[in-house]
């Protein structure tokens, strides 16, 4: 069973590596959005330091929405999804595998480049660390929640916009605690509480969203 | 209490009537829309049913 999970992860990573341009789209989107804010707001460092956690987190949220649409679409089009529904493995496990691979190629890079972007906003090294940790805990939750939306909108016209409409409201808690953790660190309140809440959200979404997403996939693949 | 006094609502007239008015507007419009939709659906369905009977 675990083997099936691993092979899905490996398969999707291999596929992503063979289509590297898709991989960078999300990352560049993230970088560009974050870099645009100072241009819109002005280079006042005190203001920027204040809005940095929110800006980085909202950009991460939008970037992960951007990548969601393709999560199941390619497999749906070439029929491999159909085959996945017909194998003697729990579908939620395969979904979890797909989400894991998706996070590794889209979510993880965001967490890795985030400190560089944080420097643009003059965040302290400590705050940068918290930013990375919060993204490491939060982006997998975003991918998991997003998988439900991606599965529900599979094959629909205008699915890309629709998926954001469905998923963004559900991601608000992750955004609040993710950005909140960094903010709490900046203001000296301590980020522990926020990070534990993020962890709890991650665990909850790990438990429930593969089930919901696989139920949605069965409906959408009919 | 005179009518103008009642409408004035101790200075809160705009806000009170803005709330109650819009709520009333929505709650009157919705049943009307539902009724219209029912008429349209009935018309469409009965046309389909009649068409089928002619075919038979």
């Amino acid at each position: 069973m675990f083997e099936a999970f691993l092979i899905i992860v490996r398969r999707d990573i291999t596929l992503a590596m063979r289509r590297r341009s898709d991989l960078f789209t999300t990352l560049f989107f993230f970088v560009i959005v974050v870099s645009l804010f100072p241009l819109g707001i002005g280079p006042e460092m005190n203001t920027l330091r204040l809005i940095a956690p929110g800006v980085v987190w909202v950009a991460a949220l939008l970037a992960s929405m951007l990548a969601l649409e393709r999560l199941f679409a390619a497999d749906f089009e070439d029929g491999t999804l159909e085959q996945m529904l017909l194998v003697p493995q729990p579908l939620s496990l395969l979904v979890l595998g797909k989400v894991t691979a998706h996070w590794l190629v889209t979510g993880l890079p965001l967490a890795i480049v985030a400190p560089l972007l944080g420097l643009q906003y003059d965040l302290s090294p400590e705050a940068l660390g918290v930013l990375v940790v919060s993204l490491l805990l939060g982006t997998p939750a975003l991918s998991l929640i997003g998988a439900i939306g991606a599965a529900l909108t599979l094959g629909l016209r205008g699915g890309g916009v629709l998926v954001s409409l469905l998923v963004l409201p559900l991601c608000i808690p992750v955004l609040i605690f993710g950005a909140g953790a960094v903010e709490a660190n900046v203001s000296g309140l301590g980020e522990q509480g926020h990070l534990s809440m993020l962890g709890a959200l991650l665990v909850l979404s790990l438990l429930f969203s593969p089930l919901a997403a696989s139920a949605a996939l069965r409906i959408s693949a009919e | 209490m005179s009518l103008s006094e009642f409408l004035y609502m101790g200075g809160y007239g705009l806000y009170v009537w803005g709330s109650f008015g819009v709520t009333a507007l929505f709650m009157i419009m919705e049943p009307i829309l539902v009724h219209r939709r029912r008429r349209a659906v009935l018309q469409r369905v009965s046309r389909i049913v009649r068409m089928k009977e002619v075919e038979r």
Binding site: G159, P169 | P31
Partner: protein
């Protein structure tokens, strides 16, 4: 036990539900009219002027019932959705679909009246208060549900996809509410509850309750009327629909 189960399933067939709903719509419309009439009378003539907020506080007599109904309807929608997924009954999904627009309307009204209450009390049309923010997110959830159902052509897929979304949403609502509340207290934002400022007298409580019951009856009447249209549309190929007097006439 078994016979009761069968009875329920018979009850849930569109052919029996359609005429039943037809009889219930006028009944609940009358109840709604009476209760809302009484509620309005009480909110303007019985409830005394608040010593702190003056006449402006009367807005809560629509705001609070609308907010309550918007939350309540979402839960009912999720319950219908869950029933539909478990028992595979078509009717449950149709009920969920019929409830959504009314729920969205109440969510919008709660926001609208909240803004009209906020302007004189806080001096701003919109304040990032925990309740208002959650209500806004609830409105987004409703819009997502309606948009998803609208985007899917196949009615059976639309029903089941909507059902999953409603269930995911209802699990999320408490999480969203608490996270927004946490966020709100942390930022020392406007944590003002509309009812807190005024001493909630017995009369006010009763007025609010009666208005809520009126809204409740209204929601039932409207959603039943709407579900009748949905049933007609979905079942137009069946013989029972073609034999209905309103279809023949």
């Amino acid at each position: 036990m078994n016979s009761r189960l069968i009875n329920w399933f018979k009850f849930s067939s569109p052919a029996t539900y359609y005429p039943l709903a037809g009889r219930l719509v006028p009944l609940f419309s009358v109840i709604a009219l009476v209760l809302i009439g009484v509620g309005l009378y009480m909110s303007f003539f019985i409830a005394p002027t608040d010593y702190k907020q003056g006449e402006g506080y009367r807005i809560i007599f629509v705001h609070v019932p609308a907010a309550w109904m918007s939350m309540f309807i979402y839960v009912v929608m999720a319950v219908w959705s869950g029933l539909g997924l478990v028992f595979n009954t078509r009717l449950s999904a149709m009920m969920a679909k019929a409830l959504a627009p009314t729920g969205a309307m109440f969510a919008f009204l709660a926001l609208w009246t909240g803004a009209f209450w906020g302007k004189p009390m806080w001096g701003a049309w919109w304040v990032w208060d925990a309740r208002l923010t959650s209500e806004l997110i609830l409105l987004f959830l409703y819009i997502g549900f309606i948009a998803l159902q609208g985007a899917i052509d196949d009615p059976r897929r639309a029903d089941r996809a909507g059902a999953i979304l409603a269930l995911v949403g209802v699990v999320n609502i408490p999480i969203i509410y608490f996270s927004v509340k946490w966020w709100n207290t942390l930022h020392q934002g406007a944590s003002v509850s509309i009812t807190k400022g005024s001493s909630m007298g017995q009369v006010m409580l009763w007025t609010m309750l009666i208005m809520t019951l009126g809204f409740w009856a209204y929601s039932i009447a409207v959603s039943l009327a709407r579900v009748r249209s949905i049933i007609l549309e979905r079942e137009r190929d069946t013989t029972w629909v073609s034999e209905l007097p309103e279809v023949r006439g």
